[in-house]
């Protein structure tokens, strides 16, 4: 991995282990830390692919009419952009990278419960991603259904939809196995003395996430399988010309895919809940409230899927019920925001790149979440459903939320993972550009949506051009910032200052061991007596 780790202390997980050297040593290692890094590398690559597709889309939308790509290509692009971002980047995202790396350490374990299964999930992830990438080429061209694969279009379209659906199906398995692994790890492998309510909050959020992964993913699995069967045998589950019911497809799809958005955001919330106390040197405010709200999000989040279908012709009673439940699920998120801010009160706040990303997470999450309320309200949803307002909402909450939490996490744990410090100054410059680019890119989309610009439009009416133009400019500012950030991280991983064991004065267990962590994490069995955030 990092080339010259000779300078780092010997015996770290980066050193050779097992009988294989180099790449092979990584590909066969069941060490949870190495698997975390493997995921990190893959996700970074796929993120850049997805982002490039997004960039090309913005280029095309710079002006009305056809500029660089034709409509079919555009439709393929947003589909693949969505599939990559959702199934390959943000769903595994934090859980697979930082969950794998830090969950065992934070609960004082030497590895996850099933290390081999863990490596196996990574391979499944790789296979699934490979299939997804394959769906781009050959056959009848890239899938063009949108990441939601709505029937009956997904059944009629003769592009490589089957391949893309298969990819999502396979990726689902990887997600399930990771979740299963985490649940058992948390139940069985906590250190002596670490009772449930002494467990740090990132593991807690992973625990809630894992249950969603385990209990929601199978439903989309079977649904996608049915789509494949439908495309192969023309059965008629969802195809109305054969008596099927397209709305049933939407139900099944969103039964998973709404909980899936909480798979994305819960670990992000967990990360933020770790970072804020550390940088404020304060005990987290309302530990139990945060735990309960994580569980509540996981539970209630399962019941609100219909808010994606308010205009689908669902029964009026359902629309009301789903709208109601949608508003209920906003409460635990609100509680978390209040607790984060309360934790800063009378703290001793250290502002650096990590913390700036964290604060922008909170800010953007609020915007994304609050606009979610307008989407959840029946009257207003009718107007903005399937417009750029929705696009803005979910980019704010997925990219601005989960994405920024990812950036925060990678800066926060960077010294621990690679044993070196990142460059603070460059980091801050990168953050400023990323943040302003982000706002410029996505904020105009709210306005566009309110004006009535539908999403998944290759071309648009002239009245929407101003908004699109500003937004496209923002896209290029953003990528510039991202390049700075990635450059800073890559350079620091090789050349940065050596990191001490606990650069931020954190309290959780990962800061008690050397950076980078030794192979077996802890020399002796860990015994926990204190609360995870007992700052003095």
């Amino acid at each position: 991995m990092t080339s010259n780790n000779s300078a780092l202390h010997p015996g770290s997980y980066l050193d050779q282990q097992g009988k294989y050297k180099g790449i092979l040593g990584w590909l066969t290692s069941t060490d949870h830390k190495r698997i975390g890094i493997l995921y990190l590398m893959c996700i970074l690559v796929f993120f850049l692919v997805g982002v490039t597709l997004g960039g090309v889309m913005k280029l095309e939308l710079l002006r009305p009419g056809e500029q660089y790509i034709d409509a079919q290509t555009y439709n393929g692009f947003f589909t693949v952009h969505g599939v990559i971002m959702i199934f390959m980047v943000v769903i595994p995202g934090l859980a697979a990278v930082f969950g794998n790396f830090f969950l065992p350490i934070m609960i004082g374990a030497k590895d996850v419960a099933f290390p081999r299964l863990n490596l196996f999930s990574w391979y499944i992830y790789l296979v699934g991603s490979g299939i997804a990438v394959l769906s781009q080429f050959g056959g009848n061209g890239a899938p063009d259904t949108g990441w939601t694969f709505y029937a009956p279009y997904s059944i009629d379209s003769n592009t490589n939809v089957t391949t893309a659906v298969l990819a999502a199906f396979v990726l689902g398995f990887s997600s399930i196995l990771t979740g299963l692994n985490f649940i058992v790890t948390i139940h069985r492998m906590r250190a002596k003395g670490m009772t449930w309510f002494k467990m740090p909050l990132f593991p807690w959020s992973l625990y809630a996430t894992a249950w969603i992964q385990v209990l929601a993913t199978p439903i989309v699995g079977i649904t996608l399988l049915m789509v494949i069967a439908e495309r192969t045998f023309r059965i008629g589950f969802f195809d109305p010309s054969l008596g099927g019911d397209p709305i049933l497809y939407q139900h099944l799809f969103w039964i998973y895919s709404h909980p899936a958005v909480y798979i994305m955001i819960l670990p992000a919330m967990g990360v933020v809940t770790e970072i804020i106390p550390t940088f404020c040197q304060r005990k987290v405010f309302g530990y139990q409230a945060i735990v309960l709200s994580s569980l509540a999000i996981a539970g209630v989040g399962y019941l609100v899927w219909g808010h994606h279908m308010f205009t689908s012709g669902m029964s009026d009673f359902s629309r009301m019920a789903f709208s109601f439940l949608t508003f209920v699920v906003a409460i635990p998120s609100a509680i978390k925001v209040f607790n984060w801010i309360a934790t800063m009160y009378k703290g001793s706040i250290r502002i650096n790149t990590t913390f700036l990303y964290t604060l922008s997470f909170v800010f953007q999450f609020m915007i994304g979440g609050l606009t979610g309320l307008t989407l959840g309200s029946l009257a207003t949803n009718i107007h903005v459903h399937d417009t750029y307002y929705v696009v803005a909402h979910f980019h704010y909450i997925v990219f601005g939320g989960m994405g920024f939490a990812f950036f925060a996490a990678i800066h926060y744990w960077f010294p621990k993972m690679f044993g070196r410090m990142y460059n603070e100054k460059l980091g801050k410059i990168g953050w400023a550009i990323v943040f302003s680019g982000f706002t410029l890119l996505y904020f105009p989309m709210f306005v566009l949506g309110l004006q009535g610009m539908p999403r998944r439009y290759f071309d648009y009416l002239p009245e929407y051009s101003v908004g699109h133009f500003i937004s496209s400019i923002g896209g290029f500012v953003l990528i510039f910032g991202i390049i700075i950030m990635v450059f800073n991280l890559i350079r620091s991983a090789r050349k940065g200052e050596l990191a001490p064991a606990n650069p931020w004065d954190g309290k959780t267990l990962e800061w008690t061991i050397a950076s980078p962590p030794p192979l077996e994490n802890f020399d002796n069995d860990v015994v926990v007596t204190e609360h995870p955030y007992d700052y003095k």
């Binding site: 209990l215 399962y302 019941l303 219909g306 029964s315 359902s318």
Partner: protein, 94 residues
């Protein structure tokens, strides 16, 4: 040490459960001979649920397992039920 408080189910108990299960199967089949209509599905599902509970509790040992497993199973089944109910909010009120 691993199985400190393992519960050993006797062969006889297993046999009794099997007889019960077979008996319940016979009931569902005979019920369908008598009356059709929506009632028979209700009865069939009710009996099937009893059978499932027997399998879960005795064959799958849930009754003698630790509390976590019972809670897990309860959550999973509850969730499935709720998903059914909520989906039918749509189909029943259309």
């Amino acid at each position: 040490m691993q199985h400190e408080n393992t519960h050993i189910t006797s062969y006889r108990a297993h046999g009794v459960i099997l007889v019960l299960l077979l008996f319940l199967t016979a009931i569902t089949i005979t019920v369908t001979w008598f009356d059709a209509g929506s009632l028979s599905v209700g009865v069939a599902m009710f009996v099937a649920s009893i059978k499932a509970s027997l399998v879960l509790l005795y064959f799958m040992h849930l009754k003698f397992d630790q509390l976590v497993f019972k809670v897990f199973a309860a959550v999973a089944f509850l969730l499935l039920a709720v998903v059914f109910i909520i989906t039918f909010f749509d189909y029943l009120f259309r």
